[in-house]
């Protein structure tokens, strides 16, 4: 039990993660020494995680508007109009630090938090995705972290009842001490039934809903913003435990209550629990908030005001109700077996007042807690750019076929089936494209519309050139949606970086954001929600800059789409987009030659858009049903993936005369797609492309049981598949 009158010492201030000047700023703001509860509140509000103090300035540069954007960043999740009176609501969020400490619970509570963000706005979640990065496979902790995180994501989503339809998994030594666990949720609501966090009306009841409050994760939000050191394992008890069952009930109860018309405003209790949710509701609505903590349902005895205000117990919500509707609301929550308590009211004082046992434990100016939070323009230095590597200067493999076989079975490029088979990706009966394609496709209700979704970023590109890497991440998400026939509409981002107090890291952050913004503008692909995770750094070693992009697009008629699997023998393979044999920062250079070097492939955003629009049009008009974008591993890996998915071989016949063959096969030039279609179709399409000035060439033919490379080297599809499917299960079984 922490008393409210403990003396505030500099040590205590430091333990709360506040810098001396930040504390001074707070004292000046309130004109007196704070109580411990007040110190706890401000430490939660002003830490990096809640206040975005290092990132806010730069986030302003992101484009957030488009005619179809209903709600951009700033609410629990972004909202876009997908037509027919329907809105798609989505967001991505990180749970990196907790997942490193306790992978199963860290991942579950990450999924729980993002689902709550989406259904808080009135949406029923229809899909989940995740973006994961682990340390190198040989690191002793990696298998344990992979197994715990994957089980945790599945454990929560499967029980909650949302299909987990896509994501990304990768390994790199730079994540050895800081793994990335980013979860994305996508929901659906009617455009006229969306709920927001801003409270309105003075004297309205503030209601606490969901599970009881315990001493979970106190300081959790602060932990998420603190760099790790070797002692951090001792911070363990701050880990929260997820209860997907309670969350499922909370979902049903909230949606039922929203239908009843009783809800004025709603906010989930995420990071910094009651503090953040209550302050945001009041501040956004220009109202004060008064809470009586005696009314808060507690799981443990003797909880102090400080603990209640900072607890991060999961599966809880805060609502402002229409006065007079309390009884009706309570009945719904009792039916679902959840706690319901009126714990406060809105006021016209613009103060955040917290009472406990009749005593005022905190009395703070509510708007200033948010608006006056520190804002830093941290020093940043631009990266030293790496030289462009000419294709001719990269050694050829002993055998192209062996190099390809090695790549399809490598940790980053192998099949992630072992992961997604632990996720229920079929529940709700609307999954048109399951994991394993370019973007997942989920039908909207009974159709005919569908949504395409994906998560992408290539961290090694971002490290080598943050601006190009930022552009590429957005472009790849846009391309993956396009490749299934979707019209890309908007993104959410999860900006994972190291310590922003280091100018190089801040330089990466600023650079990536610049690239992201540029690509979003050029592709009409605005940012509607997101999350920033900084201080992903252990003992001075930061992660690769990893701005994960979660993209969403729409298919007007979901039955007209494309997938990567070859469907027919004797189809012609057509390559759209320009090939220069760009091997800088390629997977080939890294995993075959052992060099992580060079400038990454640049993205020509105009070409990106032109090529993508062309491909999408071909899919939509029904001319093409087999498409794969070219990304890691270039043409060779893309064709191999198409062959493996369809169980049909292919022959690559195009051999360039202006670059080495391995550069042609493995180069990672951007904005490219491979299409399979019948002969007659191909002639028309090549003609159409050339008329539009879009680079398009015949790449080869489908058929047989092998993938045949120019020059005649062949690998059977069976061998490709064996290599592709075996690495991850073998590794997890301790055999790789």
């Amino acid at each position: 039990m922490i008393r409210n009158d403990v003396a505030i010492t500099p040590e205590l201030v430091k333990e709360h993660g506040l810098k001396p000047d930040e504390y001074e700023r707070f004292v000046a703001l309130i004109g007196r020494t704070p109580s411990i509860t007040e110190l706890g509140i401000v430490s939660a509000m002003w830490n990096e995680h809640c206040s975005y103090k290092s990132s806010r300035l730069h986030l302003r540069g992101l484009p957030t508007k488009a005619p179809w954007v209903i709600q951009g960043p700033g609410e629990n999740a972004g909202v876009i109009d997908i037509g027919d009176g329907l809105a798609c609501i989505f967001k991505m969020e990180s749970h990196n630090h907790p997942s490193f400490i306790e992978p199963y619970q860290g991942a579950t509570t990450g999924v729980g938090g993002i689902l709550r963000d989406v259904f808080t706005m009135g949406a029923r979640p229809i899909a989940a995705l995740n973006f994961l990065r682990f340390g190198e496979p040989d690191h002793p902790k990696t298998p344990h972290l992979v197994s715990g995180v994957v089980a945790g994501i599945g454990g929560y989503g499967n029980s909650f009842g949302v299909p987990t339809v896509g994501g990304s998994v990768g390994f790199h030594p730079r994540y050895n001490g800081n793994i990335l666990v980013n979860a994305m949720a996508v929901g659906l609501a009617r455009t006229d039934e969306i709920f927001y966090a801003a409270a309105t009306g003075v004297g309205n009841p503030i209601v606490y809903l969901g599970s009881k409050t315990g001493r979970d994760g106190i300081h959790g939000a602060t932990m998420a913003s603190a760099e790790f050191d070797d002692a951090s394992e001792e911070k363990r008890p701050t880990v929260q435990v997820g209860d997907p069952f309670a969350e499922k009930l909370l979902l049903e109860a909230c949606l039922e209550l929203m239908q009843s018309g009783a809800v004025i405003a709603i906010q989930d209790m995420g990071a910094a629990g009651l503090t953040c949710s209550a302050v945001e509701m009041g501040a956004k609505g220009d109202l004060g908030v008064e809470l009586d903590l005696d009314k808060v349902p507690c799981r443990e005895e003797g909880m102090s005001a400080y603990e209640m205000m900072l607890s991060e117990s999961q599966e809880r919500m805060l609502m402002v109700l229409k006065p007079g509707m309390e009884k009706e609301a309570e009945a719904i929550f009792v039916k679902w077996g959840l706690d319901f308590a009126i714990i406060g009211r809105t006021t016209d004082t613009l103060r955040f007042v917290v009472k406990h046992h009749g005593e005022v434990m905190a009395d703070l100016p509510i708007k200033e807690l948010g608006d006056e939070a520190p804002l830093y323009d941290r020093p940043h230095i631009a990266n030293t750019y790496q030289a462009v590597i000419r294709p001719e200067s990269v050694e050829a493999p002993v055998s192209d076929a062996d190099a390809l076989l090695r790549l399809v079975g490598s940790p980053d490029q192998c099949s992630k089936r072992w992961v997604w088979e632990q996720y229920d990706h079929l529940i709700l009966g609307n999954t048109v494209q399951t994991p394993g394609g370019d973007a997942a496709i989920v039908r909207v209700e009974d159709g005919p519309k569908g949504l395409a979704m994906t998560t992408d970023v290539t961290p090694r590109y971002c490290e080598a050139d943050p601006v190009e890497g930022g552009k590429q991440a957005v472009a790849e998400a846009w391309r993956n949606i396009t490749a299934v026939g979707g019209l890309p509409l908007a993104i959410t981002d999860n900006l994972n970086f190291g310590n922003p107090e280091r100018p190089e890291v801040m330089g990466q952050f600023v650079g990536c954001l610049k690239g992201i913004a540029e690509a979003c503008r050029a592709l009409d692909f605005p940012v509607v929600s997101g999350n920033v995770s900084l201080y992903n750094e252990t003992n001075g070693q930061g992660i690769l800059p990893t701005p994960a992009i979660g993209g969403v697009g729409v298919l007007e008629n979901v039955s007209v789409h494309a997938s990567v699997a070859l469907r027919r023998e004797e189809d012609v393979l057509v390559l759209i987009g320009e090939t220069t044999g760009w091997l800088g920062q390629s997977i080939y250079l890294r995993d075959v030659c052992g060099r992580e070097e060079g400038a990454p492939p640049p993205v020509d955003l105009a070409a990106e858009r032109r090529n993508g629009d062309f491909v999408r049009q071909l899919i939509r008009s029904g001319q093409v049903d087999t498409v794969h974008d070219c990304s890691d591993g270039g043409i060779a890996l893309a064709v191999a993936e198409m062959a493996m998915a369809g169980g049909i071989g292919a022959m690559i016949t195009a051999a360039p005369d202006n670059m080495p063959l391995h550069a042609f096969l493995f180069g990672e030039d951007q904005s490219r797609y491979i299409l399979a279609m019948d002969r007659d179709q191909a002639a028309d399409i090549l003609y159409e492309a050339s008329a539009l000035g879009i680079p398009a060439v015949t790449l080869g033919l489908t058929g047989g049981h092998s993938l045949i490379l120019p020059g005649g080297q062949a690998i059977s599809v069976k061998d490709l598949k064996a290599a592709h499917e075996s690495w991850l299960p073998d590794y997890m079984a301790g055999k790789a």
Partner: protein
């Protein structure tokens, strides 16, 4: 030699299972049940006859696998 390892949740850690069971017992009309918390037991046969060796093996088993010491406590009894 035989041993029993009991793994229980640390105080204050949420126990969704215990909570659900508590509710179910109430609705089944079992009277007088208060708080319920669920844990695990492992009945283990040991291949050694040496008490010290056995204790060391069990401790290693608990720390490495049986208990998630972030949120759980464990107790070892050798029969």
């Amino acid at each position: 030699m035989k041993a029993r390892v009991t793994v229980t949740l640390k105080n204050g850690v949420l126990d969704p299972q215990g909570k659900a069971i508590e509710g179910a017992l109430k609705s089944l009309g079992v009277e007088g049940i208060g708080n319920v918390r669920q844990g695990k037991v492992f009945d283990i046969e040991l291949e050694t006859q040496d008490q010290d060796q056995a204790e060391a093996a069990l401790k290693a088993a608990c720390e490495k696998l049986l208990a998630n010491t972030v949120i759980e406590n464990y107790r070892v009894e050798i029969a």
